[in-house]
Symmetry: C2
Subunit: 271 residues, 2 copies
C-alpha cells in the first residue's frame, strides 16, 4: 500500500484540506471532511469511502483503521500520513482526531431522491445552525426517514459541525437542496403530503391523518415558516405548548412530528 | 432614575461582568448574564429581574426596555450605560446585543423542588453540551415539565450558551443540580417514577405506563447512561431506531419521551 508522508505545514495538500473548513472552498472543490475513526467506519459501512485518508503518524494501531486504509487503497484512494500538529492545523482543533477522510460531496438535487423509499422525509427551511442540521439528519436516520431536504438558504450539511452532529447520518440519509418554488414543483409531481407545525388552522399533532410519503417541514430557528409556506401545506398540526415558549427548537419539533408520523405510518410489528 | 455611565475598558465593573463568562467566576460571584431584550423581557414576565442592567449608550429607543429599566430601578437594581465597544468586550461578541442583565444565580438544591408542581420532570446525567442543556430547558417549558435536574457533572445552566438556547426557559423551569446518590435518595423519599430510554429489559416508549410525577432521565451525549443508573429506573422504554444509529441526541430523546408522557399524563382537553 502506498502511503505518502507530509511533513511541511506549507504543503499544497495541507492548504487544500485546510481550505475545506470554508463552505466556499468546499463548493469549489466538491469535497468535504469527516473526522474520526467512528465516523469513517460509519461511512464505510454505509458504502461511502473517502477519496483520501489522512492519518496521524504517531497513533495507536487499530484493526478498523487498517482495514479502512486497505479498502481505500484498493478503491484507488490516497493514504497520507502526517504529524498530529499538521492535523491540528488542517482541522483547526487543538486535539484533532487521529484520522480524517476527504469525501466527494454527494448529489443534492431533488431529482436524485426516490420519494417512495421511505414513509417520512424531513424538510427544513432556512435552517441556520449546522448543529441543528446534523441533529435532524441523525433523528431522520433513527426515525426511518429517507432524508433531509434543505429549502432556501440553509447551513451547509457538509460543514464539520453538521457532519459531526449527524453522528454518521450524513452518509445514510439522502440530502437535497432547493429553493422553495423548485421544491413545491417537485413535490406536486407525484404523491406526497406536506405537513408543518403551525398555530393556524391546525389539528392536534397527535393522531393527525399523516400519509406516506409524509414530508415534515420545519422553519427557521428564529422566524419560523413564512406564512405562504404554511398555507401550501396539506396538513397543519399543533404541538402542545404548555409553558411560556411559543415554539420548540427546530430539530426538536421535527423529531416530535417524525416519531408521531412514524408511529401512525409504520406497519405494526408482528408478534 | 440613576444611570451610571461607564467609559473605561479597565473599569472594575467591566472586569467583573467580563469574568462572568467563566463558570468559576459565576460560581464565586453567584451571578450570571443574560443578553438581549427578548430574554430580559421573558425573565421579567416570569418574575425575574436582573440586579443590574447594562445598556448601550447608542441604541434605538424601545418602550419595553424603558419599562424594564424603570422596574429594575424601583426594585433597587442598578442601571449602567456604556459603549457598544465595551459591551462587545464584556460579551466577547463582535456584534453584542444592545442590552444585558446580570442575575443572581437561583437556588439549585433538590430541596427547593416541588415535585407535585408538574406531571413531568426532565433529568440529565453528565450532559456536556450547554446548547443541549438549554434546548432541554426550552423543551421542558413547552411540554409542561416542572424543571430540569442535572445529575453528576453537567454543563453549566447559567452559561451564556445554555441561557441563550433555553429561549427564556432558564427563568421559568426549576433547575436542580445533584450527584446521582443524592438524587436517588431525594427521589425515593416520595412518589416519583424514574424512566429512561434503554435497550435492555424495556417496553415500547409508545403507550408505556407513565405515572406522574414522571422523571425522564437521559444520559451523557457519547456514553449514555451508566448501567446501574438504568437498573435503578422504574420503567425502561425503547424508542424505535430504524437506521444505522443506535441512539438519538440527548435533548431529542428527552423531547420524544416528554411529549409521549405528556400525552398519557395530561388530562384530555374538554371539547
Amino acid at each position: 500500500m502506498t502511503r505518502r508522508t507530509i511533513t511541511g505545514f506549507s504543503n499544497p495538500t495541507v492548504k487544500l484540506l485546510r481550505s475545506l473548513r470554508d463552505k466556499k472552498h468546499r463548493k469549489r472543490e466538491g469535497k468535504f471532511l469527516a473526522e474520526g475513526l467512528r465516523l469513517l467506519t460509519d461511512a464505510r459501512e454505509s458504502g461511502r469511502l473517502p477519496e483520501m485518508l489522512v492519518m496521524a503518524d504517531r497513533r495507536d494501531e487499530h484493526p478498523l483503521l487498517e482495514a479502512l486504509a486497505t479498502e481505500i487503497d484498493r478503491s484507488g484512494g490516497e493514504i497520507l500520513e502526517t504529524s498530529p500538529e499538521i492535523l491540528s492545523k488542517i482541522t483547526g482543533k487543538d486535539n484533532p482526531q487521529a484520522v480524517l477522510g476527504v469525501f466527494a460531496e454527494f448529489d443534492t438535487s431533488l431529482a436524485a431522491l426516490d420519494r417512495t423509499a421511505a414513509p417520512i422525509w424531513l424538510v427544513a427551511q432556512a435552517l441556520r445552525d449546522p448543529g441543528n442540521l446534523g441533529t435532524m439528519l441523525r433523528t431522520g436516520d433513527a426515525a426511518g426517514a429517507g432524508g433531509l431536504i434543505l429549502i432556501d438558504e440553509c447551513a451547509d450539511p457538509f460543514s464539520a459541525e453538521a457532519v459531526r452532529a449527524s453522528m454518521g447520518a450524513v452518509f445514510t440519509q439522502a440530502i437535497a437542496q432547493a429553493p422553495w418554488g423548485e421544491f413545491i414543483a417537485w413535490l406536486r409531481q407525484d404523491e406526497g403530503q406536506l405537513v408543518a407545525a403551525s398555530l393556524r388552522d391546525a389539528v392536534p399533532y397527535r393522531g393527525a391523518p399523516y400519509q406516506a410519503p409524509c414530508f415534515i417541514l420545519v422553519g427557521n430557528e428564529s422566524r419560523g415558516l413564512p406564512e405562504e409556506y404554511e398555507a401550501a401545506c396539506d396538513l397543519r398540526v399543533t404541538i402542545p405548548m404548555r409553558g411560556r415558549a411559543d415554539s420548540l427548537n427546530a430539530a426538536i419539533a421535527g423529531a416530535v412530528l417524525a416519531y408521531e408520523a412514524l408511529s401512525s405510518l409504520s406497519p405494526p410489528k408482528r408478534g
